[in-house]
């Protein structure tokens, strides 16, 4: 990931990925509400309609079930599509098409039919949107055989992962984070792909491993800076895609540090953090110095009140405090 160069927003990095791929592959059709002249609720398709027109940027009314099924059916018939749910929450209207049709089609057809569709949606808490617009259920899709799940945490990764998704033979859930759209980062102007299943070591360290997804990467990195000032060296890993998962890079880090904490914006029970703790137990049990920990959102619907929502979501303070406990010298019973 380059440290110097052109700086653009996360939203524009997604637009750039689309522009490059739609120019390269003229079969790509983009379907969703408000993605035409308006340029997307989050400006996530800004400028594309002028370039590619109504035929390829298909604005719809409010009909996620129909639009998602249409995108999947077109993909089954050989036209690569993107369906934009805008808010990931709205994918719930369409989840039967995603899980029952898109995810299953390759297997059910013995590999004869593929559905090259990117289902795009933005998750997570932003500006106290309340319970209907803040869900983070990406772990549900990771539990569905046949779906790939990408969670870009920064502009560079969004461009590279989106472009890879647009060349993948099967359905990909591209799950962005709403509060990242206006964040900025270095993104090369030339095209590049980020392969699925390659985790990124955001920061190297040797005392503990912090695995974080999506916006939580930012919090994990801030916590690592605080910890470094206290003399604790944290390695931060961003899986980037959770299906496929770079199990090797993650377990190598855990085996090196002997400590694991996972930061995950969804609630802990049956979460992806739970999966990573299970992997640590299976693959790194002999190397663990302390029990692995997970830091999730509290198991409540996203509250409206800023005070309550801040209490619900993982914070830098919570991460630092959990790590303090993990770094205490072990009490020996001999």
């Amino acid at each position: 990931m380059p440290e110097q160069g052109r700086v653009i927003t996360y939203a524009d990095a997604g637009v750039e990925a689309l522009r490059e791929e739609m120019a390269r592959d003229d079969s790509i059709v983009y379907i969703g509400q408000g993605i035409g002249p308006r340029g997307g609720n989050f400006r996530q398709t800004r400028g594309l309609w002028k370039e590619f027109g109504d035929e390829r940027l298909r604005d719809t009314g409010i009909c996620e079930l129909g639009a998602t099924g249409v995108a999947i059916g077109a993909a089954m018939a050989g036209t690569r599509t993107v369906v934009d749910e805008v808010f990931l929450d709205f994918a719930l209207e369409a989840i039967t098409q995603i899980v029952q049709q898109a995810a299953n089609i390759s297997y059910m057809s013995n590999g004869k039919i593929k559905a090259p569709v990117v289902v795009r949606g933005a998750m997570g808490a932003v500006r106290n949107a309340g319970a209907h617009h803040s869900h983070t259920f990406y772990n549900w899709f990771a539990n569905t055989p046949g779906l790939k799940v990408a969670l870009p945490s920064n502009p560079y990764d969004l461009k590279g992962l989106f472009k890879t998704a647009l060349r993948d033979p099967g359905p990909v859930m591209l799950i962005e984070h709403k509060s990242l759209y206006n964040t900025k980062g270095v993104v090369p102007e030339e095209g590049y792909l980020i392969p699925f299943g390659e985790a990124r070591v955001v920061r190297e360290g040797h005392d503990l491993t912090i695995v974080a997804m999506s916006r939580m990467v930012e919090l994990a990195t801030k916590a690592a800076v605080v910890l470094a000032q206290e003399g604790v060296s944290a390695e931060v890993i961003d899986p980037r895609t959770i299906v496929p998962l770079d199990r090797q890079k993650i377990t190598e880090s855990i085996r090196k540090t002997g400590r694991l904490v996972v930061i995950d914006e969804s609630p802990s029970s049956c979460s992806f953090a739970a999966e990573l703790l299970a992997i640590a137990a299976e693959d790194c049990f002999d190397k663990l110095l302390v029990p692995p920990k997970r830091i999730n959102s509290l198991p409540v619907p996203n509250p409206f009140s800023p005070v309550l929502e801040n209490q619900m979501i993982p914070s830098v303070d919570r991460i630092v405090s959990v790590v303090h406990n993990m770094m205490r010298p072990l009490r020996r019973t001999s």
């Binding site: 035929e55 298909r58 719809t60 249409v70 077109a74 018939a77 029952q100 059910m108 057809s109």
Partner: protein
């Protein structure tokens, strides 16, 4: 000007082919019923007995590259689109030679090489998918037409409304064929909705809707011919409501008698699609009894060969369970 005679509109050869295809669908399903009742086939099956004229009448207008999307009651659609009986039966048997290599079964069988885009275990789900395939045809300008079959049970679902609306507003080359067999599982259509004309719903979306006698293969063929022609020439979608009936229960194992009377079933059997097609063929001079007898034998042999093929085909290797997930 008087309407042209039947034989001026449809050749005797066509009538003969429709009859044979309808009989193939009928005998195939009766064989599946027998095999299933004898415990030979795993899973669940929903049989198409009584509704054959719809699939045959519609698909007789399609080219091989045209696509159809089917339902949980879809064996007949696969056969009518040209998927060989032995491939369909092998799938029902879970064999490697089946259309999905045994990974799909009755409600998840796919043969894109014949333009058959699948049966489906989810009522209503194929309507958005077919609409999407029609969008693909439109943007690729490949002259394909897509037909979507569904039952009366699907039309009160959100999938129907959302997808048909998109098909209409985007003027897509798709034909929506509703097989109204009067019952969604056990729920009588008359009890499920207040406006009982499905064809009339087309007006809501600004497209053409027609109602047709689903037991009469010629009537279905002609209605579909117009609709498919409209779709192919850029005139957009059509909703065709075919009035039909299943003689059997919802699935094998459902006697189908708790929610409808034996008299009603008998009444529908008076207008049996096989008998009607046979009658039209004889009256038009397309065949005589001798020719029909040999045609019947030919179809029976085809089904017997399908059974032999499927029965003797290998099971998938257990090691292959992880293949084709992505």
């Amino acid at each position: 000007m008087p309407e042209p005679l039947l034989t001026e509109r449809i050749s005797k050869e066509q009538l003969f082919n429709y009859y044979k295809k309808i009989l193939e669908l009928r005998l195939f399903e009766l064989k599946v019923q027998e095999l299933y009742r004898n415990g030979r086939l795993p899973g669940f099956v929903h049989l198409y007995v009584g509704e054959e004229a719809v699939a045959v009448g519609v698909c007789s207008n399609l080219e091989r590259q045209d696509l159809i999307f089917s339902t949980h009651r879809g064996h007949g659609h696969a056969l009518a689109k040209g998927v060989p009986a032995k491939i369909v039966l092998a799938e029902l048997w879970g064999k490697t030679t089946g259309s999905s290599g045994g990974r799909g079964g009755s409600m998840h069988m796919y043969a894109p090489e014949y333009g058959f885009m699948g049966t489906n275990g989810i009522v209503g789900a194929p309507i958005p998918l077919a609409t999407g395939a029609a969008l693909s045809a439109k943007v690729r300008k490949n002259n394909q037409v897509v037909v979507c079959f569904f039952g009366d049970g699907a039309v009160n679902s959100g999938s129907f409304h959302e997808a048909v609306n998109l098909g209409a507003v985007w003027n897509l080359p798709v034909v929506y064929v509703c097989e109204n067999n009067l019952y969604a599982t056990e729920m009588a259509f008359l009890r499920a909705t207040k406006n009982t004309s499905i064809a009339s719903r087309a007006a809501v979306y600004g497209m053409v809707g027609i109602e047709v006698d689903g037991q009469d293969v010629v009537a279905v063929h002609e209605a579909a011919q117009t609709a498919i022609g409209r779709a192919r020439s850029g005139g957009g979608p059509t909703l065709i409501e075919c009035k039909t009936y299943r003689y059997v229960g919802h699935h094998e194992g459902d006697p189908g008698t708790d929610y409808r009377t034996r008299e009603e079933v008998q009444q529908w059997k008076q207008r049996d699609p096989v008998k009607l097609a046979r009658k039209v063929l004889l009256e038009s001079g397309g065949a005589d009894e001798t020719i029909l007898q040999s045609a019947d034998q030919e179809v029976e042999q085809l089904i017997d060969q399908a059974v032999e093929f499927a029965e003797n085909s290998p099971e998938p290797s257990a090691d292959s369970v992880n293949e084709h997930v992505f």
